[in-house]
Structure formats: C-alpha cells, structure tokens
C-alpha cells in the first residue's frame, strides 16, 4: 500500500473530523498500519470550512499534515471552493451532489455521489452522513477494510446508534465500490 494522504472537509457539525478519527483509528488498531490525524482548531472548526487531515501508511509518518492530499472529500460548497485546488494531480476528489456544485476542472478524478440523498432515502437520519461518506471513501480507495471501521464504530458509537451507523457505512461502501468499478 502506498502512502494515502487524505483531507476531509465540510462544515462544523457534519462530523468530518469524527469520520477522520474513526478511519485513522481503524487503520492503527485493526490493520496494524501507521496513521496520523490532525485538524484545524479555532473559529473555522465551528461552522465555516472545517478541515481534517489523515495520513495512512505502512511506514513511519513524520510530517503530519496532508498538504497535497491524494484523496479530498468536500461536503459543502464553501469547503469545495476553499480546498479543491490543494489536491495532488491525479488524485481523487469526492463531493456530495446535494451540497456541492463542482465548477472548475482539476487534474483529479472527480466522483460526485448523492450521499445525502441516499442517506435520507434509506436511513432517514442526516447525522450518519459522515459515516456514509467514510464508507464511500473506503469503497473507492480500499485503504482499510469496512470491517475495521465497523469495529471502531462498535467501540465509539453509543449502542442505540450503532445500527444506523453500520447501515450508513454499508451504504457508503456500496456507493464507493460502484463508483470505482
């Protein structure tokens, strides 16, 4: 596995930071990979364009920020406008069709997924959008196994919310795999 540098962005409260922590924790605890997660603090983390960086690798990671991510996820227009230019040429740009209108071409594979729409249709709870997004990233990149994410969810999510999160994960993984093939 080559080094995977990822940036998840959206607005405060969408859960992109939680999703990043779950992904990195899954890599470290269940797949014996090396991972580093960091995030922006301060006013921009509360509303505005939130950003979190995750690097996953088989070898030590020293510089902890993903300055040129090969995977960029944008869940809002503001996040897209702010961050789309940082993607590494040839990278993967994932956006949500409901929230983001992709305007300009970047040198990346652009995958636009109706994450929010499908979450609302099939689960009906917008709070699991972040886990659906995480599923899609895992389905697209295969950076970790969905089962590893499930194990972290079991550990981190209150029992009464586990089911909807697990369903959101499955939904996202399926959407990601479809888009990858």
């Amino acid at each position: 596995m080559s080094r995977c540098r990822m940036v998840f962005s959206g607005s405060g409260g969408q859960g992109v930071i939680t999703a990043a922590i779950i992904l990195a924790e899954a890599a470290v605890l269940w797949e014996d990979l090396v991972a580093v997660q960091s995030q922006s603090y301060g006013p921009e983390a509360r509303g505005g364009a939130t950003r979190t960086d995750v690097i996953i690798s088989e070898s030590d990671i020293h510089f902890p920020k993903a300055n040129e991510p090969n995977v960029l996820v944008c869940l809002t227009q503001e996040a897209y406008n702010k961050f789309y230019t940082i993607i590494r040429p040839g990278g993967l740009l994932v956006t949500d069709t409901r929230y983001v209108k992709t305007q300009r071409k970047v040198d990346a594979r652009q995958v636009e997924l109706p994450l929010f729409q499908r979450v609302m249709e099939e689960i009906g709870k917008p709070i699991v959008l972040n886990i659906c997004m995480l599923g899609a990233v895992v389905g697209l990149t295969r950076v970790v196994k969905p089962e590893s994410i499930r194990k972290v969810l079991k550990d981190r999510v209150p029992p009464e919310f586990f089911d909807i999160n697990a369903r959101a994960l499955e939904l996202g993984v399926a959407m990601g795999r479809d888009a990858a093939s």
């Binding site: 269940w30 991972a35 510089f63 902890p64």
Partner: protein, 382 residues
C-alpha cells in the same frame, strides 16, 4: 487488536505517561491547546484514587501543586503560554524550596494571548528564564506520542531525583494530533520514588541538609516532622537567612545540582549524524519536519543528519558541540525567532556555520521550508 495500543492525541499521551509515573494530584485551569490534559485527568485521576482540582487560575494551580508535592504527592499542572506566565512566581518558589513538580506548557503563539489554536515554540526561553533570579531548571520536549509518554515519565523521575520543577514544553501540533501510542507494561520504565528521610519522628530533621551524594531527603509536610519552608534564602533548617555564606552556598547548590549533571539529564536522538555534512538540530513538532527531510534526502545521496533534542534545559552543550564539529552546516529548525539557535551558537566551536530555519506564523514548518532555506545557505538558490 494488539494489547496496550491506543490511538490518541499527544495531550492524552502526556496524561498516560503521568499516570504511569504515579501522578496522584493535578491542579489546573484549562487553556487551549493544553485543555485535553485537564479534561482526561479529571476523568482518570479519581478512578485511581488521585485528586483533580480545577482551580480559579494558573497562579493558584501552581501553588496548589507545590503544596501537594510537599505533603508527599507526585504532582503536575498543565497550561499554555499565558498561563505559564502566571505560574512563574510559584515556579521560582518551587526552585528555591526544592519541591519536585511537573509543569506542562503546550505551546501556542505568543506573546500575550497570541494565537490560541496555532503552533509555536516561543516559550523555550521562558522555560529557562521566566522566573526571576539566578536559577537552573529542567525543560524537556518530544516530537511523537511515544516520546511524549516517555518524557513525561522522565520528567517525574528527574523532578524526584533532583528535587526540582521540570517543565514539559510540548506544542499545539504534538498536543492535538492523533497517532499510535503503545502503553508500556508496568515496570518496563523504571520509576523514581520520593526520597524520604530516615530520621525518626520526634528527632530533629534538617530539610535542607544534603546527604553525602548531595541529595536532600524529604519529609511529608504535616507528617512526622515540623520544619519551615520559605522562598527566602534559608539555612539547613529551612529558616530565612541573609548570611552571605548561606546565600552563596544555597545558590551554588541550586545551580550545581542540575548544571553538573547536564550530561546525565540530556535526552536526545540521533539520525544519520555520523557522516552528516549538514546537521539539522531540532525538537518537538519541528523535528518531525526535519526528520522528514533527512529520510527523504538520504536516499538521494545528500549527507544530511538530525540531532533531535529532548532535553532543552540544561542545554546539552557537550552533545551539541561534539556533533556539530564535523558538519559544514548546522541548521537549527524551530518555530520561533531563534531561541535554541542562540544556545547552539554558544555551544559550538564555530558559530558562523550555524543557521536558522524557522517559521513563526502559526503554521507548522514544512519539509519544503527547511529544504528551501538549506538550498539558499548552500548557494543553490530555491
């Protein structure tokens, strides 16, 4: 899942290290970017019978841990620059009264309230000279979570060994980022416990009468012995004295006990230093970027090495002088205007070959920043 493997913030690694070392009293006042230390200890300390107190401010926090230490507890507080400023008075008291304690400063941009959520390493000299008067102090740092844990344990050990405050200078990047931490088994890292006096209850105890090896056994305050503790210059009874001989003797002791053991207190890591033409000297989060440069450039034949300092004060002069002899260029990488740079220049034989690669805008210095500055120094242009 492997045993004892955790995925945590640096601040949590500090908490785990402190608990491993036997911390049982914490007093503090939350401040970004150190808040998670207080947050986690508020939860963890009571579970193991320790005490957590949220104080009214940092002055009181520092005073509380000094008092608790004197009664026989292993103590810590955690803060950031603005709070660290408020702690300086009581920190000096702990230096003077020789009270073991650990003070964590997770650095953010300063001066004043500065940049609450951004990284900096601007408190290096504050750790050294923040409190007034001639004194010596121990300050340590770390660049990754395993080392944050280890240096925290070491800080408690050194505080007990030398009866001194030990400052842990972390930074926002290391404090907030998450990475793997493997918690060592009990007994894997040796712990230094409080050296208590063997003088029986009811027999005169001299709190400031050194043993042959220079160490001062303590007696839990409020326990078996009555004695005096003061921030004034004091005699072996702990009572104030202006006798020039006593003053001179005490100040010499306070400085010598640390400065004469500089090499013993020095903690550092070497990467490819043996044949290095360019020696990077760095610490904390900056050392992560410096190490990135070394790992990245070595396979391309560039003879660049890294000395990562983990003890900043007392400054490891001998280590730096020796390693800086052979390289043509010494580049200090830090996130301030050159605080460790000055110490390096004083330590080496030829200070004109020492340069600074820094960043002080609240952003983590990048490997590209370092490489660009190095190219300019080497006359290659950016």
């Amino acid at each position: 899942m492997k045993k004892n493997v955790r995925f945590v913030q640096g601040n949590e690694a500090c908490v785990e290290g402190a608990l491993y070392a036997g911390l049982d009293f914490f007093a503090g006042y939350p401040i970004t970017p150190s808040t998670e230390i207080a947050e986690h200890l508020a939860y963890r300390l009571p579970q193991k019978g320790g005490k957590f107190i949220q104080m009214e401010d940092e002055i009181a926090s520092m005073c509380a841990i000094v008092g608790a230490s004197l009664t026989g507890h292993k103590v810590m507080t955690a803060t950031s620059g603005p709070g660290f400023s408020l702690m300086q008075e009581a920190l000096g008291y702990a230096v003077m009264a020789e009270i073991p304690c650990v003070v964590v400063d997770v650095q953010r941009g300063g001066p004043s309230t500065g940049l609450p959520t951004s990284v900096s390493q601007g408190d290096v000299n504050q750790a050294r000279w923040g409190t007034h008067g001639d004194h010596a102090v121990i300050a340590m740092t770390a660049s990754n979570h395993q080392d944050v844990f280890l240096m925290t344990v070491e800080a408690f050990n050194l505080a007990e060994t030398y009866r001194t405050p030990v400052i842990l200078l972390f930074d926002e990047v290391v404090g907030h980022m998450r990475e793997r931490l493997v918690i060592p088994e009990e007994g894997e890292i040796p712990l230094v416990e409080r050296l208590r006096t063997s003088v029986p209850e009811g027999v005169d105890y001299h709190p400031y009468l050194p043993r042959e090896d220079g160490r001062l056994p303590m007696s839990d305050f409020g326990g078996g012995h009555r004695y005096n503790v003061t921030g004034l210059f004091h005699d072996m009874w702990g009572f104030p004295s202006t006798n020039p001989g006593v003053v001179k003797g005490l100040l010499r002791h306070l400085l010598d006990k640390l400065n004469n053991n500089t090499n013993r207190i020095a903690r550092y890591k070497e990467y490819f230093v043996n044949d290095a033409q360019v020696l990077l000297i760095s610490y904390g989060a900056s050392a992560r970027s410096a190490l990135h440069v070394v790992r990245n450039r070595r396979p391309r034949g560039e003879r660049v090495g890294l000395l990562e300092l983990q003890t900043l004060w007392p400054f490891p002069v001998d280590v730096v002088r020796d390693l800086a002899k052979a390289p043509e260029v010494v580049l200090v990488v830090e996130m301030n205007m050159g605080q460790v740079l000055q110490a390096v220049k004083l330590a080496v034989d030829d200070p004109e070959k020492v340069f600074l690669a820094n960043r002080f805008d609240g952003s983590l210095i990048t490997p590209t920043d370092i490489r660009n500055i190095l190219r300019v120094i080497q006359g290659k242009g950016i």
